[in-house]
Structures are given as C-alpha cells and as structure tokens.
Amino acid sequence: MREFLLGNEAIARGAWEAGVKFVSGYPGTPSTEIIETLATRYPETNPRWTANEKVAFEEGMGAAIGGLRTLVTMKHVGLNVAADAFMVFPYSGTNGGFVVISADDPGMHSSQNEQDNRYLARVAKVPVLEPSDAQECRDFMMAGLNLSEQFHSPVMLRTTTRLAHHKGLVEVGERTEVATREFNRDPQRFSVPIYRLLRRPEVEKTLTALAEYAETCPFNRIEEGRDNKIGVVTSGISYQYVKEVLPHVGVLRLGITYPLPANLLRDFCSKYETVYVIEEGEPFIEEFMRAAGIANITGKELFGVIGEYSPARLRKTLGMGNPPAPFTEGIKLIPRPPMFCIGCGHRTVFAALRQLRVTVSGDIGCYTMGALPPYEAEHTTFCMGASIGVAVGLEQAGHENTVAIIGDSTFVHAGIPPLIDAVYNKSRLTLIILDNSATGMTGSQPNPISGKDAMGEETPKLDLEALSRASGVQNVAVVDTWDRKEVVNVIRRAVSFKGPSVVIARGPCQQLPEIKRSLRIPFFIHEDLCTQCDACFKVWCPAITRTENNFPVIAANECTSCTVCAQVCPTDAIKLAEGFA
C-alpha cells in the first residue's frame, strides 16, 4: 500500500511498523510531527512529550536497556541539551533497538543556529543514517532499529528541514510486534565509572565494526554515470537536487554518513576526474575524504556551508544558469513578517515592557517576536532557559533593571535551575513567566503546565506559584494577561522590589484546540462613538482593519474577545457585539 506522507509521518509510520514500544521527545521544528503523528495514529508506540530533551533521552535509554524498541525525537539544538546522556550511552550500548532523531535545520527556518549534528555523533561515536526521501525516512527508521540491535549501539537518524517537511509517496506495511528483550542487571556494562575503563575499548571495537559494515551496507548506493569526467558524493536531500540538476553523472549516495567507508569512497573517486562533494551543512564527508587522501574533490569552497541547498542554488553554483529573483524593481515588495496571533496574551506584556523601558533578557518561544517592531522590547535571546542566567549576569554588570521573560514550556525545560540559582546568589531578578498552558511556537503541544499529556489524557498540573516560592522567591504575583493596566502595575512593582520576583502572566494560547472551539462573542466598533483616534490600532491586532471611511473595524469571525482594544478605547466605542447568544 502507498501513502502520501510527510518525512516525519513516514518516520512515525516506520517506528510503528517496526514494533517500537516507547517514544519520547520534546517539540522542536522540524521534528515535532513525529510524536504528533504517533499520538494520533499509532498509540501502541506509547509516545510522550517530556520536560526537555535530556529527560526524553534518558527515559529512552531506560526503555531501551529495559528491552523495548525505542525512538527519541528532537531538533538539532535539542541534542545539545541531551548531549550529556548521548555521549555516555555508547559506553554501555543498548539492548532494545534505540534510534534518536536529530532534525537539523539548514537555513535556520525556525532555529537559533545552524548546527550539523553529524559532528556530535562523531564525538559520541554513534552511527548516523541520512535518508534522502520520505520512503527512506520510513525504511531507515526501521533499518536503524535493526542496526542498533545488531551492533548494540544507539543510532542517530539525521533529517533536515526539507526532508522532514516534504511529502512523498511511501510504500508502507503493517506492524510487527517485537518481543521485549531480557534485561540483565549487569553493573559492569551499565554502571559506575570504574567499569567504564573496561567499556572504553568496546566503544572502539563497535565503531571499527560499523566502519567495516559501512563499506558494503545497503544504505550506500552507487549510480553509474554516462562518462568519467564528473562524479558526485552526496547524502540526504541534496541527493535529490543532484539527480535533478546533474541527471547523468555518476553518484555515490551515502545513507550512512558516520562512520564513513574509506575504501568505497576511494574506489568511487578513482573512477572520475573530478568528484563534487554535495552535502548540506558542514564539510563532514568532505573532511573525511581529504583526510583519507582523496584529492580530486571539490566541496564547500564551491557549494558553501551556509543555508539550505536547492536545485536553483546548485545550478547557479555550477554555472548552469541564474534562476530569476523576486520582482523588486519598479514595485515595492513589502515583507509580511509573522506576528502574535489574534488574541495572543503576549501582546500586553510586551506593550508594558516597552512602556517601562527596562532591559529585557528574552528566551525562545513565540515571544521572541517581542524583539521586533512595534514592540522592540526584547534585547537578548540565545537558547532555551538563557533569559534568567543572562539577566543575573547583566545585573552584575550594572544593569539592575533587567527583566527576564520566558514561556511556560521553556521555563519547565530549562528555567528552573537558573531560577534556583538566582535566589541562591541573591539576585534581584524579575522573571516574567508567560503562562499560556502550551508549547506555543511549535504548535501548542501540551506540557507539564497544561494538565494534559501527549495523548490528551489528564495529568497533574505543575504549580508555578508554589514552585517559585519553594525556590525562595517571596514576591510571586499572578496577573490576567489581558488586563492591560494590571500587567503594567504588577511588572512595575516586581522591578522595584528589593529581591527576586516572579510575575506569572496567565491566559491560554489562542491556538489550543479547546480555545479555538469555544464560542466567543466578538467585539464591535460603534462608528457613532468612534473619534478615529487610532488608539485601537496601537494594540496591533490583525483582526482590526480600516473601513473605506477610515473607521477601525473588527473582523467578527476572527475576534477572540480578548478585550484589549476595548480597554484602550478612550470613548468606549468598542463593545461586545449584540445578537450573539
């Protein structure tokens, strides 16, 4: 049977077919749809969202050594968070098959950096599989579990944005149940550092065996070319661009990119005058080839390390034509940047921060948009959880009025140790937690604050107030995020408080399905009362536009009834619409 699937859906399908019985992960573009698909279509795989990637990885390690076929998913930077566990797992090796997805994001479509995680795999000494289309996303997922069991090694399945987020036809099968493997308590294998010295040579042995395997394994494929002038070594989605732009050249498509097959590469390259190494990201394959003494290659000096590849880019690079650029001459092509949703509770907080003119140390989530016009009220953002530590450091550098701002999911993910530290080191930190009960930016997944798990089942809610107090914060305030004036007051008080403060700005994410479904009475602007002062436009709500007569008008079917525009209207011209029951 063939299905038209997203790369991520194909991975989910492969995991299901291969009998996976435990899946953990933290949302992150472009990996998120794997667990979403498993949760909605394949609950037998027992998928869950965890507090962060390190927790996901560790739960996965436990499940795998306990004997289950296991999948752990995350975006590339997630693996940094899980790196501590990732680096030691190969020392014990796994019992049940273990695959970790590293979803890399060349072009930084939705990430804070470009990071090629094949390097992390090399540091950890973990084999890497790179599929080239949706079919292989499924196939490699399944084969990766076998490989993992065969070599007792965790396996990384590396995808990239284009692979994870493209759809293609996938031949699928049914699920095969796989028996849970026996787990023997074996401290020499799974425990304490002293035994690690014994395990160290095992890691090298496994790697050597994998390198041998890579020489002849079915993941790598040679396609003969028409002549021997140019050959191409490639991997991942780049393979598709090569087939498109250079359909007649010889290709070595590497499906396993760590460890790399030195002999296979040497043999292949010896048949061609010049070999292009076309790999998105860093020169990972290329560096290996150069170190292996292969000299007739051209790689990053021509194709570049920055950004996403495409057929257009390859054509241009190879002097095969210059695809047209957007029309910008003779017309003004204005941008359309993303913005806070209609009714988003983050708006009032950024309006307040702008008004209070404080320095704002930001974090990762929808609220990074607070750095952009019209708010421009977020002055640093680095990585998840950094808002708090950076604010403490800025305070030490004399910026006393620094406010840290973090989303609920990010707070749970990486904000708790730095909050405890801020109290411990006597900071006067003001921390705003934007509590919208969702991991908004990645598609409003549930998190420990939502009271729901990945399967939609009820689960205890984390109590942010109690947690803040238990950390030693005395000034803890909760505010309705749509109460404009109160938001300003509460933040102002927190900033002037002579000790650490936590402000919880609360109100659900407008993209949550239950919120979208709820019936709400829209607001309506009475033109007889409106003086066209434009105050409501300063709310920057996309549901408010202008009529031909220059009056503001609210799109009734889009208004979420957040009330903020009504609060700013000086003439009370904005009222609940009549005739809605």
């Binding site: 987020h165 661009y241 087939k243 057929p311 940047p337 993303p338 913005m339 920057w540």
Partner: protein
C-alpha cells in the same frame, strides 16, 4: 515526460496549504509521482506561506525552481507578487485572487502596500489571470472557500480529470463543508474556462 511544478502562495490561515495538498492528492490519484513541500518562517501565524508541488513520471526535488512553475496560485495579491518569479515566463500562468490583505505587522503598511501588483506583472509580459475568488466564495456563503475557487480555476490548467478532483475533494473535505466546496470548485473552474475562451 513533462514535470508540472506549482507554487501556492498565501497568508497563514488562508488555506493555501490545503489546496496544495488537494492538488498533490489528485495528482497521486491520477497516477503521478508527486512531491510537496511547505516553506514558512519561525511562526506561520499571519506570515507568508509558500507551498511547492511537483508531479510527473518521476520527481526528485520537492522544491520548485524559480522560472519553471507551470502555475503560481496566489491567494492574495502581495503574496502572488512575492512568488511571481517562480513562473515559467513563456508557458506559465499566474492565478491570483483579486484580494488584498495588508500586513498588520508592518508599520504604515496601508500606505506602502503595492496595490498595482497585477498590472505590474502583466506589464512584464506574464500571463496573469486575476479572479474575484473571495467575492465568489462569499456569494456562495463563505469567503474562506476562496482557496477552493482558485483550485477549480487551476484544474483547467492541469492534466487531471474532473472525476479525480471530485473524488479527492470528497475524500478530504469534511461532510459539513463538502457541498459548498464542490460549488466553489465548480465556480472557479467555470470562470477560468470563460477567461480562457475570452483570451483565445
């Protein structure tokens, strides 16, 4: 064999992804190898959304190359302009909804919005067909079906039989909205036929 490359452009929430998906599924039903990919920024909310669809005997890249698209379908004028360079200037058709959505996140956008984009693209010698899809959809009872009106228009340009389109819509559109969407599709297809006749 010929490869059909299509670009769908719109604003998050307008349903450009849905009609791209319907086109892909119809192409699959019609027996073509098909690939689709969506590009959007940090958060798709209210930002521009582009979806690429390619079908033919064998498809490698899911990404459409500028200058090769058989059709660019714009659900909004500014977005049509933004992705117009994807069109094959000799044989392609830009189908655009005669509808403006001023970006709320750009300061003074009302003043600098390029209202003349359709005339501009025509002046470049491109085949641009502008349809009042939002109006047509509103007349049929729901302005949100503008996307399916455009899909109906697009169907005239593709080698996919009408029965396949119908079947695809029936498979994918929830029962509650099906009848309206079938009408929207039909209206778009008819309008396009008339435009093409008028051109000839």
């Amino acid at each position: 064999m010929k490869i059909y490359s299509l670009m769908f452009a719109g604003v998050g929430g307008q349903g450009s992804l849905l009609i791209a998906e319907l086109t892909s599924l119809a192409a699959v039903q019609a027996g073509y190898d098909t690939k689709q990919t969506e590009v959007h920024g940090v958060s798709q909310r209210g930002g521009s959304v582009e979806t690429h669809v390619r079908f033919g005997e064998k498809i490698h890249s899911p990404i459409v190359t500028p200058g090769e698209a058989h059709a660019v379908v714009g659900l909004e004028k500014l977005e049509a302009l933004r992705f117009a360079h994807f069109i094959d200037p000799q044989n392609g058709t830009i189908l655009v909804n005669d509808y403006e959505l001023v970006p709320a996140s750009v300061l003074n956008a009302e003043k600098i919005y390029p209202h003349e984009s359709i005339e501009f693209l025509k002046s470049k010698g491109l085949r641009v067909i502008s349809l009042p899809a939002s109006q047509t959809a509103r007349d049929l009872g729901d302005a949100r079906m503008a996307n399916v009106v455009l899909l109906g228009a697009l169907s005239n340009l593709l080698p996919i039989e009408r029965e396949v389109w119908d079947k695809t819509l029936r498979l994918r559109i929830p029962a509650k909205y099906l009848e309206g969407n079938l009408q929207a599709f039909e209206a778009g297809a008819k309008e396009m036929t008339e435009r093409m006749k008028a051109e000839a």
